[in-house]
């Protein structure tokens, strides 16, 4: 699992270099790679910090490249981020544990299914946003921020409600 997580970390950190291979992006990439590597070995919170640095690296690369939107690549990067987090977390859980039959196979199948669905969903959403942006003119950045904040809040509320319901179980 660690090897798979390391490959995904390389993908996450290396993708911005394909967009804009400048020295500042490389510097952030190296920092992100170190943090991700440490996170794979130590724990998910450290990995999350490494991934935030990788996102900053991606944002910087997009800013430097200043080209047309690359939504397909972004969707793939998003899927790689989720998989990296989940694979590294599973690797930490599976360390020094007896693994039952079919556990890894079932996990790989679940991740593959999620990757396919999530990338398709992200692409569809991106495409819908592109079509909408051509017809409707509005300040997208504040709207997206508000939508994102709302989605995050709703997600958290749902998660907490689910957790509370299960603890009563």
């Amino acid at each position: 699992m660690r090897r798979l997580a390391a490959v995904l970390a390389l993908v996450v950190v290396g993708a911005p270099l394909l967009v804009a291979p400048s020295s500042s992006v490389v510097t952030l990439g190296v920092l992100a790679l170190i943090l991700c590597g440490l996170g794979i070995l130590v724990g998910t919170p450290v990995l999350a910090v490494g991934m935030i640095v990788a996102l900053a690296e991606y944002a910087l690369a997009l800013r430097l490249a200043d080209g047309p939107p690359r939504l397909a690549g972004a969707a793939m990067l998003g899927v790689a981020l989720v998989l990296l987090l989940e694979v590294a977390d599973f690797g930490l859980r599976a360390r020094r544990a007896a693994i039952g039959p079919r556990v890894v196979a079932m996990q790989l199948r679940a991740w593959s299914l999620f990757a396919a669905l999530a990338s398709a969903g992200a692409l569809l959403a991106g495409a819908a946003a592109s079509i909408a942006s051509a017809s409707v003119r509005m300040p997208w950045a504040p709207a997206l921020a508000a939508a994102g904040a709302a989605v995050t809040l709703v997600g958290m509320a749902l998660a907490l409600a689910a957790a509370r319901a299960r603890s009563d179980d």
Partner: protein
């Protein structure tokens, strides 16, 4: 079952939020698209299995073992519903050590599926060990939330002290009336030739000593020493211990007591046990296999227990401490109360010897090697020597035993000195 969000879920939310912030700051739509799979992943919350759909059972390869033995623990997991990911963890008591497999397992189960999980443990220290509850954690496939529960599966395991090998034993000075393996001074039926006396009517012809009869031209018969058993009382000091488990002075004392009890019972002697922990606890002297079990059960529960009570040896009934018995006191001589009891026993004329497992090598092993520690150990050794000499002057035989060395070697010197009738 208690369900909670995992650090992974919080990490996903954090990374997603930061992605949105960076998207707004950079004004690039790609960062929002990057965040979308993270947010979609959160939709998988609430898919962890239920604890009701899992049934556990445990089997252990042996219920009664000796120290150092290994047992295999088998946990069988049966799922009555689909379980995406089940994590089981079995916390072990300090008396057990894992030597094969893992005490944590991860399983994915279909409805009706049964999985066996095995691991091997070594029983490090004597005692009544209970394998208690198994901790179960039910994860969603994504690992975003986990429900925790504890499934009680009590399984008692008895770990008996391992008897140390012994071939030679200190012989008792006084015998009992029953047949045994010791050559008694009294004459009668036996195998060991004793004295020769003149033939009297009623003597058996096969006891006639023909060589003496021919020389003196009258009939003489050979008398034989009777073979008798003895009462041996093991007196265990549980007032104090030194060292770190499973190699404390009490552990060494109990192993020695187990070895002595096994060896004396094999010789058909009656063996009793007195545990002195302030008050007395005892097992009445007897013989046989059932009694062997009884003594081992008593040794199993022997432990250091603080008490303000200090009973006198005079309170021990005669049936527990017979006057003719050989008393073997096993003590590291750390507590003056036990020394007082020894002096009392010696004053009452008991055939007494003290086996003293030295605490110094055990403590030295646990300490870091420094000059001050070495000096302290040397001073301690001198102090022990002085106390042993004081007891020796009162006529008490003391055997100093380094628990790292074989018990037989320590007792070897004692058997020789007792044969010569010399107390050290």
């Amino acid at each position: 079952m208690t369900a909670r969000l995992t650090p992974l879920a919080l990490s996903v939310v954090t990374v997603g939020a930061w992605g949105l912030v960076l998207g707004v700051l950079s004004g690039r739509a790609e960062l929002v698209v990057v965040v979308l799979p993270l947010l979609l992943g959160l939709l998988r919350l609430g898919r962890a299995g239920s604890a009701r759909s899992v049934a556990l059972s445990r089997a252990v390869s042996a219920a009664r073992v000796f120290e150092g033995d290994r047992v295999t623990v088998t946990v069988t997991v049966t799922a009555s519903g689909r379980v995406p990911l089940l994590e089981l963890y079995e916390p072990l008591p300090p008396a057990l050590r894992v030597v094969g497999g893992e005490t944590r397992g991860l399983f994915s189960l279909r409805r009706g599926q049964q999985v066996e999980w095995r691991y091997e443990v070594e029983c490090v220290r004597r005692g009544r060990v209970s394998l208690g509850a198994v901790r179960a954690r039910l994860w969603g496939r994504a690992g975003l939330e986990a429900g925790e529960t504890s499934i009680p599966l009590p399984w008692p395991l008895r770990v008996y002290p391992r008897p140390l090998p012994l071939r030679r034993l200190p012989g008792p000075r006084r015998m009992q009336a029953f047949v045994g393996n010791y050559v008694a001074p009294s004459v009668g039926e036996g195998l060991e030739p004793g004295d020769i006396r003149a033939f009297v009517p009623g003597d058996r012809v096969r006891h006639v000593n023909w060589r003496a009869s021919l020389r003196f031209r009258r009939l003489f018969v050979t008398q034989y020493h009777q073979e008798r058993n003895a009462d041996v009382v093991l007196m265990l000091d549980t007032l104090a211990e030194a060292g770190t488990a499973p190699n404390t002075t009490l552990d060494a004392s109990i192993r020695a007591a187990a070895a002595l009890a096994t060896a004396y019972l094999a010789r058909k002697d009656r063996v009793g046990l007195i545990e002195y922990c302030g008050p007395f606890r005892w097992v009445r002297p007897s013989s046989g296999r059932a009694h062997h079990e009884r003594i081992f059960e008593a040794l199993l529960r022997a432990d250091v227990m603080f008490s303000y009570v200090t009973q006198e040896v005079a309170l021990v009934p005669r049936r527990i401490l017979p006057p003719q018995a050989l008393v073997i006191a096993i003590s590291p001589l750390l507590d003056p109360r036990f020394e007082k009891a020894l002096v009392d026993l010696a004053a009452r004329g008991f055939d007494l010897m003290v086996l003293s497992p030295s605490p110094i090598p055990l403590v030295r092993r646990a300490l870091r090697r420094t000059a001050s520690a070495e000096l302290a150990c040397r001073l301690w050794a001198l102090e022990r020597r002085a106390r042993a000499d004081a007891l020796h002057r009162l006529g008490i035989t003391i055997v100093d035993w380094n628990p790292a060395e074989p018990l037989e070697a320590a007792l070897g010197g004692l058997t020789r000195s007792r044969r010569r009738g010399v107390a050290r």
